[in-house]
């Protein structure tokens, strides 16, 4: 019985619980909340590839959500192309944009990169808000696009109940977590870490730091766009303020930072801790105290940055490790006795 096996068991347990939850929880509202929870966890984990592994601060990731959402929705509404295909198209588009942003900015210092991502995201939002058509494509400006819930079925990525969406996003989240884990153990992961910590030394050791960051950016933008399509198919209504807003970009970044960027569990942990705060403050205080959850986020963010810059996952993982050690020692003690 080693640390490793306990970790693996914990993961399997979590997976079983996650798979079984919809059988226990029947309320559509709670399922909806869970779906969005996984959605944010997925977004922050994808963000983490650039914001954590590559060590820069992207503050405009909602742009990729928007690209994914609009690409698949426009193709679906106007040409009847299945959103699954539209998802891939959106992903590719987002990858291209991501590389275009990254190419010139990765050579500069952090603040310029952050600014450039904000400028791109806002630029895209302004563009979508102000034009109704982009060539042959109808974007409908600030009014957004609605997906009528007809022709339900897997092929059209449209379902009546929340359960199918739940399993799809859960699957996506699991996939992205496994991808992050395998990248962290791969050459790309080592190179990203090295380039983030000591770029000069890394370059002398054969690391093309800018290219590694670009690869991370490409992967991250692709994955983020997929979530955009999911969102469109789940909520059936997209408009610039919902999918390309600065608020969304910041929320993703804040959650990942509070949870702990650069680690694998951090972003998910952040989502697990903060999304309920956001949901409950919206449900119970939405009318009387709007934006309360954002104030809380801001305060938590600052406190975390001052006292736990590597995120809340650090003390939490340490606690977990201590518990596991104690469990192991007790088991070993039992065997010996």
């Amino acid at each position: 019985m080693t640390h490793q096996t306990i970790n693996k068991t914990a993961c399997i347990l979590a997976a079983i619980i996650a798979l079984g939850l919809p059988l226990v929880i029947r309320s559509a509202t709670y399922l909806h909340i869970l779906v969005l929870l996984y959605f944010y966890a997925y977004l922050t984990t994808s963000w983490n590839l650039v914001g954590g592994f590559a060590g820069v601060l992207p503050l405009g990731h909602a742009a990729f959500v928007g690209i994914g959402a609009y690409a698949s929705t426009v193709l679906f509404l106007q040409y009847g192309i299945s959103p699954w295909i539209g998802m891939i198209v959106g992903g590719i588009l987002a990858t291209i944009v991501g590389i275009l942003i990254g190419l010139p900015t990765f050579k500069m210092r952090g603040a310029y990169f952050a600014l450039a991502t904000i400028a791109f995201a806002e630029g895209i939002r302004v563009m979508i808000e102000n034009i109704d058509r982009l060539g042959p494509f109808v974007l409908n400006g600030p009014r957004g696009l609605q997906i009528p819930p007809l022709n339900l079925g897997l092929g059209n990525f449209l379902f009546a109940g929340k359960e199918p969406y739940y399993y799809i996003i859960l699957f996506m989240l699991a996939a992205v977590l496994m991808l992050t884990y395998s990248i962290s153990r791969s050459k790309l992961g080592y190179y990203l870490n090295a380039g983030g910590e000591e770029p000069e030394a890394a370059m002398a050791l054969g690391v093309n730091v800018a290219r590694a960051k670009l690869i991370a950016m490409a992967i991250s933008s692709f994955l983020t766009a997929l979530a955009g399509t999911f969102y469109a198919q789940f909520t059936l209504y997209i408009h610039p303020k919902s999918v390309v807003s600065l608020d969304l970009s910041f929320e993703i970044a804040f959650i990942a930072l509070i949870g702990g960027r650069g680690s694998i569990a951090g972003p998910v942990l952040g989502a697990l801790l903060l999304r309920p705060v956001s949901d409950f403050s919206r449900i119970y205080f939405g009318d009387t105290l709007p934006g309360l959850h954002l104030v809380i986020f801001g305060v938590v963010l600052i406190l975390v940055m001052i006292y736990q810059p590597r995120g809340l996952q650090e003390p939490l993982t340490r606690l977990y490790d201590q518990l596991v050690d104690r469990l192991l020692r007790r088991k070993a003690g039992e065997v010996q006795a």
């Binding site: 153990r185 791969s186 050459k187 080592y190 190179y191 870490n193 090295a194 910590e197 000591e198 000069e200 030394a201 890394a202 370059m203 002398a204 050791l205 054969g206 690391v207 093309n208 730091v209």
Partner: protein
């Protein structure tokens, strides 16, 4: 073929000429020393070779190929590795992790990279510390880590930039042994050093820089008794007449 040839290398920083018409040739398998007072331009020369700076004039040839202005990571692929005067370990990661970054230069496979890293650590008798956090190492071990990382990239030419600085005499001796071992692996070594007895013990050939110019070259013995060298280091009053 000579592994490294520098022909009339000059480097300017604005109005300051840090290197002036430097020429030297390094043969395969040598341990080649570069010495000179502080500010003589030694690190600048290294940085030109390693791709950090592009030469203002002149040419650098590695195994017959001109490498002026090539990027450091490409040079690493070609077989030039370097250490830094002020060590730059990946402090939050383990020793093994650090060395693996180096060994990934020649393979994409993680277990292979790990194997090679372990092999390098064993060669340098560094295995016990493999899981230690690099930021917690002593200065001597950090220097050893610099070399281990560079070694993992399988270089043909290794540039060591003042790798003995800050070490105690016993540690200096250990380092000299390590460098000799590296030569036994077939690596050509280009050393910048201030610690005289180390350079003299190690080098087959030495070049002396002063104010960016080469003022002497030869075997360690020849250079040590060269009047110009003594003047450069110690000033006019110390030149013993007749030597």
């Amino acid at each position: 073929m000579n592994i490294l040839e520098i022909k009339e290398l000059s480097k300017d920083f604005g109005g300051l000429r840090a290197l002036n018409n430097l020429s030297l040739t390094i043969e395969q398998g040598q341990i080649f020393g570069l010495i000179g007072p502080n500010g003589a331009g030694k690190s600048t020369a290294f940085n030109c070779i390693a791709g950090v700076y592009a030469p203002s004039a002149g040419n650098i040839f590695f195994n017959g190929h001109r490498i002026n202005g090539e990027k450091p990571w490409n040079l690493c692929r070609k077989g030039i590795a370097r250490t830094f005067q002020i060590v730059k370990p990946f402090a939050t990661k383990s020793v093994l992790y650090n060395v693996m970054v180096g060994s990934f230069a020649k393979t994409g496979n993680r277990s292979l990279a790990e194997e090679k890293a372990m092999e390098v650590l064993e060669y340098l008798q560094f295995v016990k510390q493999k899981d230690m956090r690099a930021g917690n190492l002593t200065i001597a071990d950090r220097k050893r880590l610099e070399i281990a990382r560079a070694l993992a990239t399988e270089p043909k030419l290794l540039l060591l930039d003042e790798v003995m600085a800050g070490l105690r005499p016993s540690e200096v001796d250990d380092m000299v042994e390590i460098i000799k071992k590296l030569r036994n692996r077939g690596i050509t070594i280009f050393v910048i050093e201030h610690i005289m007895r180390a350079i003299m013990a190690l080098s087959d050939f030495v070049v002396v820089l002063h104010f960016g110019q080469k003022i002497a070259e030869g075997t360690p013995r020849q250079v040590a008794s060269d009047e110009k060298v003594i003047k450069a280091y110690l000033g006019d009053e110390y030149v013993v007449s007749g030597s």
